[in-house]
Every structure is written in C-alpha cells, then in structure tokens.
C-alpha cells in the first residue's frame, strides 16, 4: 500500500477504507495491455484463418502449399495438383493403415506419360514410382534417386531375386553397398575379369596409332591418326558410333577394281582410269553382303560396256591370240562378245582379286568356317560377320561428351599397344575411380551416375499422340501396366 493512502492522523498502517483508495469495479475498465491481450489473439485468429481460406480457394496460389517446386520436367503441373495427386487423402490412408506404399500419387498418374517398365524380370516385387522418384524437391532431376533405393535390394540380391524365373541368371551379379569401399564395394567390371571380344575384324590398334603416321593410299604422305578420326560419338555425345568402312577405312584401304584387257579407244582408256580411281563398294549394313558388292560392280561394268562398245567389240588377232594368262576365255572360239559377257568376265577377274587377293576382303575379314562356305558350284567365299560390339557395358550409361576433356588413352590405356582383335580395350573400374573417388574434389559416385533403373529409353513405349491440352493436364493415354523387362532389353 502506498504511504499516501494511509490515515496519518490515526497513526494506523491501514487505510481509511478500501473504497477510498481502490476502485472496486476496476476490472470493468481493463487497461490497454489487458485490452490488447484480449483483442490481438482474436484478430490474429480471424486474419490467419481468412488468409488460409483465401489462399486455398483463390486460384494461382497452390505453390504456397508445396514443400518445394516440382521438378523442371513437371513445371507445367505446378498449379494443377490433381494432375499427379489422383488419389485423394492418399496420405491419410497411408497414416491410418501404417503402409508407406499407399500414396496420393499412384503409378497410374505417372504411367500416363511415362513408360516405366519394371527393373528386372527376376526382381521380387515392384515398388511404386514415387517411392524412388520424389517430387517437390526443387528443380532437380527426379531420375537421380538416392543410393538407398538401389542398395535396399542390391545389398542382398538373393533375397530380392526370384530364382525360378528365367533371366540373365548366368551373369554373376554380386551384392553392392557402395561404389567405393564399404562392406560390399562395387565389384570389378565383368569385362575386366572376362575379356571377350567376339569381333572378327582383324585390326591392329598399335599399327594404326603409329606415332610416325601411316602411308596414305595413292600418295607418299603419311597421316598420323587420332582416336577421334575413327571413333566418333553419337548425336547425344554418349556412345561411339559404329565404325563404317566407307567413312573410316576406305581412304587407306580402298577395294581397288580395274578394267582388265586392252582398250584402244582413248576416251575409254580415260574412263577406265576413272573407273580404277573409284574403289568397289562395301556392304553398308548387315543386310548387304558380297552379292551386293558383286551386283554394284556388275552394274558399273555394264555401264562401261554400254558406254564404250569398243571394249567388247571384235578383238584384234593379237588380243585373241594372247588371252589373259591362266584364265579361261568364255568367248574363246568366238570373235564377238556381248556387253553382258564382257561385264561378267570383268566381274570374275575383279571379284577374284577382291575376295581372294591379299589386299581384298581377307585383309580384314575372317573367312567363315568350311561348313558355312558355299558349294563348289558357287566359289564365292563367305566371311564371318564382323560382330563389333556397339555397347561394351550394357548395364551402365556413359557420356563420352562429358569426358571430352580427357585424353582417350587415360581410360583406354591399352589402345596404343593392342595388336590383336581379341584385346578388350575397355577401362577398368580403377580407371573410373581415379575421378569418381568420393572426395569433395572428385566426381560423383552415386549409383545412378552410371546405372539406369529402367530400360534404355529407346525400348520404352511412351505415348506419343497426346493433344497439347491433354498433355498440359497430365491426362495421357490409359496407363499401361508395368511389365517386367526381358533380359534381352539390356
């Protein structure tokens, strides 16, 4: 009590009366602090509720509810939650049933636009798309999933493999927990321990990589080859395009052909020189063979003969008396030959040179086994198909373009010393680990850096006939069921 409120005259410590110094109804008139304490919470309650209601019901505000923006590829669905979230209260069901597999985004929503086949024909069970591909994590690539999703099965493949199903059971898969170190590190590459090259083309890398260079056909110049003269990446910059004779070999290894016999006509002689300058064609793809080579060459000879009839006109006595040594003359006894006969004779001489001669097909191609050869009636030799591998590591993905700064020999170190076709010049895992080393300065080491879960893109059957409106709403075709991938897919 304040001293001034005491009754000084009575010398008492007590006030004169309670009502004389206290307002008995003071609670009816709360002070500002108390008034604010009552007012502000209600104001905040109303404002926050109104704000949430407005943001929920007014269009264009869905982003405030998103944990983060959707990935770049799905940016068009940023304001259309139902495009992917097609199972209402899926999260609530997950909670109530205690089942992490229940999602508000079902596989059906993903498969409308994406063909996501199963990982492996022998895998046990199939997981939902969103179990590995997490959205709302910003502008990141959803395909770059964490190692944990892979390791969940690959740390114990026996338990996650259905051994009763057919597949690449002969392939010695091993359990893996990490790329580097750990309890079960990534094994050595299969090719390192089992170097097998089924290619039949005879090729000597060392000779072609001669630092002194190689003689160029038809000139005295030498050319020093670089790896990229023959090995060029595909348009995506990933893998090497196949080696083509026409593009990579012909300049140095032409399939020379010529017009045999004596040509008196000067113009025909000049044309014969041009004919010789243009090598014979080479089968361009697997559908073509020696017959194609012969057919093209026959056409060229026929054209020549029609253009210059003098070459198959009656021969002079000198020529008739001096046939080509060792060759039977189909027109012996006759003094005239048709253009076809002449062309056929020229073809025989040239194919003998090409197929059996030292600079012909046998220079690179291996003769087929005797059982595959032709009969006596058709003496045309048969060669083994080249069987040049287009992908050496079919279970991984790689981009040569991303590694373009490196000298090829840093990874393909054996290339300059290889003399035999059977040499496998693929890098070992130790070569990769020099850069992908798990240090802050090193390249990444996560699983998806090299491996893709789904089949290669070219084997998938994504819908390609969507209207723009359907695409923008994420309403693609009816979602196909996930199908296990056959082992031949990779």
């Amino acid at each position: 009590m304040l001293p001034s409120q005491r009754d000084l005259r009575s010398a008492s410590e007590y006030p004169k009366s309670l009502s004389s110094w206290l307002e008995l109804d003071y609670f009816r008139r709360p002070r500002r602090l108390r008034r604010l304490r009552r007012l502000v919470p209600w104001t905040v309650l109303l404002l926050s509720t109104g704000l949430i209601a407005a943001l929920t019901w007014l269009p264009g505000n869905r982003r405030i509810y998103q944990a983060d923006s959707v990935s770049t590829a799905h940016a068009i669905f940023n304001e259309d939650c139902e495009a992917c979230h097609n199972a209402s209260f899926g999260t609530a069901k997950r909670l109530l049933r205690g089942n992490n597999e229940l999602r508000s985004v079902t596989d059906e929503a993903c498969l409308r636009c994406h063909a996501g086949d199963a990982h492996h024909v022998r895998q046990v069970g199939q997981s939902a798309c969103v179990k590995c591909h997490h959205e709302h994590r910003g502008r990141i690539a959803m395909a770059r999933v964490e190692d944990g999703h892979c390791i969940a099965c690959h740390t114990d493949l026996t338990r996650h493999t259905d051994a009763t199903k057919p597949g690449d059971a002969d392939r010695p898969f091993r359990d893996v927990t990490s790329f580097l170190g750990g309890r079960q590190p990534h094994p050595r590459f299969f090719l390192t321990d089992n170097p097998q090259d089924e290619g039949t083309i005879r090729f000597n890398h060392e000779a072609h990589m001669n630092p002194k260079g190689l003689l160029v056909a038809g000139s005295l110049e030498r050319k020093q080859l670089r790896c990229t003269d023959c090995h060029q990446t595909d348009d995506a910059g990933r893998y090497m395009k196949p080696i083509r004779y026409q593009k990579h070999c012909r300049d140095c290894h032409p399939l020379n052909v010529r017009v045999f016999g004596t040509i008196d006509e000067i113009e025909a002689q000049e044309e014969a020189d041009r004919f010789r300058a243009e090598p014979a064609s080479h089968p361009a793809d697997a559908g073509e063979g020696l017959d194609t080579v012969r057919a093209v060459l026959r056409d060229r000879f026929l054209q020549f003969a029609y253009q210059y009839p003098s070459v198959h006109a009656p021969r002079s006595r000198t020529e008739a008396e001096s046939p080509i040594p060792g060759r039977s003359d189909p027109d012996s006894g006759s003094t005239t030959r048709s253009a076809a006969d002449w062309a056929e004779q020229q073809l025989r001489e040239n194919t003998r040179m090409l197929f059996d001669g030292p600079g012909g097909c046998r220079y690179c191609h291996r003769l087929a086994a005797p059982s595959r050869r032709n009969s006596e009636a058709d003496p045309t030799p048969r060669f083994e198909p080249p069987r040049i591998a287009s992908r050496w590591f079919p279970h991984s993905v790689f981009s040569h373009e991303r590694h373009r700064s490196l000298d090829c020999r840093q990874c393909h170190a054996q290339a300059t010393e290889s003399r035999s076709t059977s040499d496998v010049l693929m890098p070992s895992i130790e070569s990769c680990q020099k850069c992908h080393n798990g240090t802050p300065q090193g390249a990444r080491t996560d699983c998806v850096e090299c491996h893709a879960y789904h089949a290669p893109q070219e084997t998938r059957d994504s819908p390609r006939d969507l209207a723009i409106e359907d695409f923008l709403r994420g309403q693609g075709v009816h979602a196909p069921a996930k199908t296990p991938r056959t082992p031949t897919g990779r």
Binding site: M1, P3, Q5, W21, Y26, R31, T49, T91, R94
Partner: protein, 306 residues
C-alpha cells in the same frame, strides 16, 4: 525493508529471486531430455535405414508430426485451462505450466525431426518462423518470469494492483494539488499571477509555476518517462531551492510530503515498466501460438489430402 526515496525505493543491487525454474523442475527436465533422446535415436535409426532418408510424409514422419502437434496443442490448452477453472481435474495449474514449458520446448525438437531438417514450402517456412518465434518469446517470458517478479518485490516497496495505477495516480495528484494549494493559495487556472499586485518572483509564484509545469504532469497518467523528475534527486534539488526562498512560514513539511508523492509516482512508473516486461511478451506469444495452431491445422489437412 529499508526504502530510499532518493533512489526510487531500490536498495542496492543484491537480491535473491525466487526462481521459477529450480530443482522442482528436475523430473520434468529429465523426462523431456529422455523423450528428446528417444525421438533423436528413432529419427537417426529410421533416417539411416530408409532409402531416401527420413521424410515427414512417411508413416513414422507423420507420427512425429502428430506428436509434435499434440505437444503444441497441450501447451496451448494452458490458456484455455486458465479460463475454465472447472477443468481443474485435468491437473493443477502448476503441473500444466510445467508441461507447457517443457513439452512446448520438446515440440520444437519433434517438429524438427518431422520436417527431416527441411524448410519445406512457403507455408511450412512461415510455420517454422512462427513456431520458432513462439518458442523464443516463450523462453523470453520464462526468463522474465524467472527474474522480474523478484525485481518488482525488491525495487517496488509499495506494490499496488497494476490495474489500479491510474486510480492511484489520480489520488496522488489530488493530494499534491491540495498540498500546493495550502501553500500557494487556491489555483485560479493561470500559472503566472494575473493579479497585478502579485510578484512573479515570490516563493508562492515560483512553487506554483514549478508544480504546474513539472510536478503535476509527472504525477499524471500515463507515466512521463522523459520527465526530468524520473531521475532521482532532480526534484529534491529543485524543492530545496524553493524551500530556501523567503517563505512567511515553515514549508519544509509540506514540501517533504510533495516529494514523497513524487517518489510514489516514480515507483508506480517503475512498477508499470517491470509489469510490461513481465507480461508484455504475451502480446506476441499468444497471437503467435494462435497463428501456429491455425497454420499447423492447414498444413496437416492439406498434407493428408495430397
């Protein structure tokens, strides 16, 4: 307790506050630490064994959210319990206050685990800010409740009900008016003498001028915190000067009384200031808690739907 009006009723700086957080909180403290450790261990285990790590959308992540929300709601119910005394059977107010403090702190940790240490989107970020501010203001309030009451007890020798301070100020001013009127005569509303015979330099005129210009506003409400009279000693010096003037009679007693009234007003002002420190944080803490519950509800509903 000895009072010293010259120092605003404050006696030295030695005081022993009665702590709100003391050994009686040991059980709650240990329980909170144990629950926090349990939540941490569970989080670390789940995060390390789950592909992709811990997420708030997983079943266990949602349970963390539910527990965290429950703790926050429990903490918020303290306010409701105060307004509904019939709910006493739910536990004493002391128990609820302890739960409010410790479980409220635990809720921050649990919600942190629920988020998987991610800030989330705009709504979640706002929730984080609101939750953190709520906890921060709560901690500030806890510290204030720990020390300020003891400071009031020691500094304010004559504590009065806060709500009655305006009433007391009015009474003090009436007493001061009566005192000055007894010395200077009835106040006619003019600070300077209007009567031609009156001397503006007379003691009465000087006292009246000083009282009307400085003392009387100081005694009013609200408390003029920038008045020179808030500084102890300033009034005494001025009154000593006035007292030394040629007064016809002894005015020492009356001026002493005037000084006492000013001391009382200074104490009331100090009490107001400390009261604001003691309870002002609730102006932020409670609205933030309300916003937290509303935004948290919106977050929960939308998260469960999508």
């Amino acid at each position: 307790m000895r009072t010293s009006p010259a120092h605003g009723g404050i006696v030295g700086s030695r005081w022993s506050p009665s702590l709100l957080i003391d050994s009686r909180q040991k059980g709650w403290f240990l329980a909170t630490v144990a629950l926090g450790l349990l939540a941490t261990i569970l989080y670390v285990w789940y995060d390390s064994t789950t592909p992709g790590g811990f997420t708030g959308g997983s079943v266990i992540g949602m349970w963390y959210g539910i527990v965290g929300s429950g703790l926050m709601i429990y903490a918020g119910l303290l306010s409701a319990l105060r307004k509904v005394p019939s709910l006493w059977w739910l536990g004493s107010r002391k128990v609820w206050l302890k739960g409010h403090i410790w479980l409220g702190l635990l809720s921050q940790l649990v919600i942190l685990f629920h988020s998987g240490f991610h800030w989330g989107g705009p709504l979640e970020q706002v929730l984080w800010v609101v939750l953190t501010l709520t906890i921060a203001t709560g901690i500030f309030g806890l510290v204030a409740q720990q020390f300020v009451p003891a400071m009031i007890t020691q500094r304010i020798t004559n504590e009065v009900p806060y709500e009655q301070i305006p009433q007391f100020c009015a009474q003090i001013r009436r007493k001061a008016d009566a005192l000055v009127d007894s010395l200077c005569g009835p106040f006619d509303g003019a600070v300077e003498p209007t009567n031609g015979d009156a001397d503006p330099g007379s003691p009465r005129a000087q006292l009246r001028r000083y009282f009307e210009n400085e003392v009387r506003p100081f005694l009013g409400e609200p408390y003029p915190s920038r008045s020179p009279l808030t500084t102890p000693g300033a009034l005494e010096a001025e009154l000593a000067t006035i007292s030394a003037l040629a007064w016809p009679s002894d005015v020492e007693g009356s001026l002493w009384s005037l000084r006492s009234l000013c001391d009382e007003r200074r104490l009331l002002g100090e009490q107001e200031r400390l009261h604001h420190w003691l309870h002002g944080w609730l102006l932020i803490h409670i609205p933030l808690s309300v916003a937290l519950l509303v935004l948290g509800l919106a977050h929960a509903v939308l998260s469960l739907y999508y």
